[in-house]
C-alpha cells in the first residue's frame, strides 16, 4: 500500500509544484494520473522514489516512510519501487539482457555488476519475464536495435526485475505509436493483476486512462482536483483539469474500443 500525505515540492523559491498532495493506493489497483503539462505529475512520481527530493510531507510504502531515507537505506527502498520512463531510458550500447539485469543492481555487489556475474536465479527470472512480454529472443541484441514498443517492454521488464512492491510509469506510452501504446497499457494492466502490484501511470491520453485503469486522479497546479472511477470522469472533470488549456476533443471522443473486454467508458 502506498500512502502519500501532504506532499509538497518547491523548486528553489518558486511557487510550489506540488501543494499538499494526499493519495492512497491499495493492493493491485492501476491508477492513472492525468493533468496538463506542468501540473506536477512527473514530480509526484519522482518524489516517490526520491529522484526528486520532496520539500515536505510523507510517503509510506507498506508502512515504510520513504521521505527521510538516506544512503544505503534509500537504495534498499528504491529496489522495491520499479519505474518505467517515457524515453525508455535504456542503456543503448548494452544488450537487452544486460539492461534487464540492471534491475537487479540493488541486490548485487559492484563486482557482480561490473563482471555481469548475476546469480542464476536472476537470469532465470530475466528469461521468464522477457518471455512473458515477448522479447526473450532479443536477449543478445543491443538495446538500440529494438523498436520503440520493444524498448519499452525492456524497460518494463527491468522494473519488474526489481521485484517491486509498486510500479511507477511516467508517460510510458507518450513516445509510442497508438497501437503500440495500447499494447503497453494492456501489458501494464495485466501485470498489475498477475503480480498483485499497485501501478501508478502518468498519462496524457485520457481515453487510454479511462480504458485501461480503474481509478483516475486528476492534478492541476499541484493539487488533486479529481479522484474517482473512470466512469465518473466526465466532461466536467476534464474541463476542471484541462480547462483554459487546449485539450483536443478527439482525445475524449475517440476512445479505443476493445472487443471481449468489460471495460466501459463514456463517450463524452
Amino acid at each position: 500500500m502506498l500512502e502519500i500525505s501532504n506532499l509538497v515540492k518547491r523548486y528553489g523559491h518558486d511557487e510550489a509544484v506540488l501543494k499538499g498532495l494526499d493519495l492512497t493506493v491499495e493492493g493491485n489497483s492501476v491508477v492513472a494520473i492525468v493533468g496538463a503539462s506542468g501540473a506536477g505529475k512527473s514530480t509526484m512520481l519522482r518524489c516517490i522514489n526520491r529522484l526528486v527530493e520532496p520539500t515536505s510531507g510523507s510517503i509510506k510504502l507498506n508502512g515504510n516512510e520513504l521521505v527521510k531515507l538516506r544512503g544505503a537505506a534509500l537504495r534498499r527502498a528504491r529496489r522495491k519501487i520499479g519505474m518505467v520512463f517515457q524515453g525508455f531510458n535504456l542503456i543503448d550500447r548494452l544488450t537487452v539482457m544486460e539492461n534487464v539485469l540492471a534491475g537487479r543492481l540493488g541486490y548485487v555487489s559492484l563486482y557482480q555488476a561490473i563482471s555481469r556475474r548475476y546469480p542464476q536465479a536472476d537470469i532465470e527470472r530475466a528469461f521468464h519475464l522477457m518471455e512473458r512480454v515477448g522479447i526473450a529472443h532479443y536477449a543478445n541484441k543491443r538495446a538500440d536495435e529494438l523498436s520503440g514498443g520493444e524498448r519499452q517492454r525492456v524497460g518494463v521488464v527491468r522494473a519488474l526485475m526489481q521485484e517491486p512492491e509498486v510500479l511507477l510509469a511516467d508517460e510510458p506510452t507518450a513516445s509510442l505509436d497508438p497501437r503500440t501504446s495500447e499494447q503497453i497499457m494492456i501489458l501494464l494492466q495485466s501485470l498489475a493483476s498477475e503480480l498483485e502490484l499497485p501501478v501508478l501511470i502518468n498519462i496524457h491520453n485520457v481515453a487510454q486512462a479511462k480504458t485501461y485503469t480503474e481509478r483516475i486522479v486528476g492534478l492541476r497546479h499541484g493539487k488533486m482536483i479529481f479522484d474517482g472511477a473512470p466512469a465518473d470522469f466526465n466532461k466536467e472533470a476534464l474541463d476542471a483539469i484541462y480547462g483554459g488549456i487546449e485539450a483536443p476533443d478527439d482525445e475524449i471522443t475517440e476512445a479505443p474500443t476493445r472487443v471481449g473486454e468489460g471495460v466501459s467508458h463514456d463517450q463524452a
Binding site: R76, K80, M83, N89, I91, R93, A102, G106, L110
Partner: protein, 271 residues
C-alpha cells in the same frame, strides 16, 4: 530588434540591426589595422639580408642531406623501437591516471565541488606544460633515459585524455543514469553501468588519438636526453651530418604515417 515594420506597416526581418551591422564593420576595420601594424613591426625586426639569402641556404642544406646515408639506418632500429615504447607505455600510464581524474572532474560524476576543482587543477597543470618541458624536468630529476621519456609522455597525456574524457562524461544522456539510480544501484554501480558504456567509444577514440600524438612527440624527447630517436637526431645535427639527419627524418615520417593508419583503423573498429 531585427524585426521591425516599414512605412506600410509590413513586418521586415533582418539578421542584424543597423547598429550591430556598423559595430561589425568597425570590428573588421580594427582587426585589419591590427594585422597591418603587426606586419610592419615584424618586418622592421627582420634582417632582410638573411631572408634574401634563404633560397640559397635552403637548397644548400638539402644538397647536404642528399643522398641520405642509408648505411646509417641499421643504427636507428633500436632508438626507433625505444621511441615507440616511450609513446605506447607513456600513453598507457597516462590513460590509467587520466581515467579516474576525468570522473572526478566531470560535473555529473564528481563527488564534491572541491574534489572537482582539484581534478581540474591536475588536468590544467598537465596540459599547460609541453611534453618536451616535462622531459627536461624529468631528465634533471631521474637522469637521462627512456624512463624519463615515458613519464614525460604520461604526465602530458593525463591532461589531454582527462579533459576530453571529462567533457564526454558531462555530455552523456542523463536519463539512463536516472533509470539506473531508480533501481537502487550504488554510486559506483551507476558509474559502471550507466555512465561508462556511454563514454566508452569516446574514451577509446581519445586514447588512440593521444597515442598517435605521442608517437610524434616522443621522436623529439631525445633532444633533451629523454631517450628515443631524438638522441640520434640531436647527435647528427650537432655533428652536421645532414645526410644522417635526412635518414632520421624519413624514418620518423614513415613511423608517423604507420601510426596514423593504425589509429584510424582502431578508431573505426571501435566506434
Amino acid at each position: 530588434m531585427p524585426v521591425s515594420t516599414n512605412e506600410q506597416g509590413e513586418p521586415i526581418w533582418r539578421l542584424r540591426t543597423s547598429r550591430a551591422q556598423w559595430l561589425g564593420y568597425l570590428a573588421w576595420l580594427a582587426g585589419i589595422s591590427l594585422f597591418l601594424l603587426c606586419w610592419k613591426l615584424i618586418s622592421d625586426n627582420t634582417m632582410w639580408v638573411f631572408v634574401e639569402d634563404a633560397g640559397r641556404q635552403g637548397s644548400d642544406l638539402i644538397s647536404r642531406m642528399l643522398p641520405p646515408q642509408w648505411s646509417y639506418a641499421h643504427r636507428l632500429w633500436q632508438p626507433m623501437w625505444d621511441t615507440l615504447n616511450i609513446a605506447t607505455l607513456g600513453t598507457l600510464l597516462g590513460i590509467a591516471m587520466a581515467f579516474p581524474v576525468a570522473f572526478l572532474a566531470a560535473r555529473n560524476t564528481s563527488p564534491h565541488p572541491l574534489v572537482r576543482s582539484a581534478a581540474l587543477v591536475v588536468i590544467v597543470s598537465s596540459r599547460s606544460i609541453n611534453s618536451l618541458i616535462w622531459a627536461m624536468l624529468l631528465v634533471t630529476i631521474l637522469g637521462p633515459g627512456v624512463l624519463a621519456g615515458i613519464i614525460a609522455i604520461a604526465l602530458r597525456s593525463i591532461g589531454f585524455v582527462g579533459k576530453l574524457l571529462y567533457e564526454a562524461i558531462e555530455e552523456i544522456h542523463p536519463t539512463p543514469v536516472e533509470a539506473i539510480n531508480a533501481t537502487g544501484a550504488s554510486r559506483m554501480q551507476v558509474m559502471s553501468y550507466a555512465v561508462l558504456p556511454q563514454v566508452m567509444p569516446a574514451f577509446a577514440g581519445i586514447s588512440v588519438y593521444r597515442w598517435d600524438i605521442n608517437i610524434r612527440e616522443s621522436t623529439v624527447l631525445g633532444l633533451v636526453g629523454a631517450g628515443g630517436i631524438g638522441l640520434q637526431l640531436n647527435a647528427a645535427i650537432n655533428s652536421l651530418a645532414w645526410n644522417q639527419v635526412s635518414v632520421i627524418f624519413l624514418m620518423i615520417f614513415v613511423t608517423v604515417l604507420a601510426s596514423e593508419w593504425v589509429s584510424a583503423r582502431v578508431r573505426r573498429a571501435i566506434i
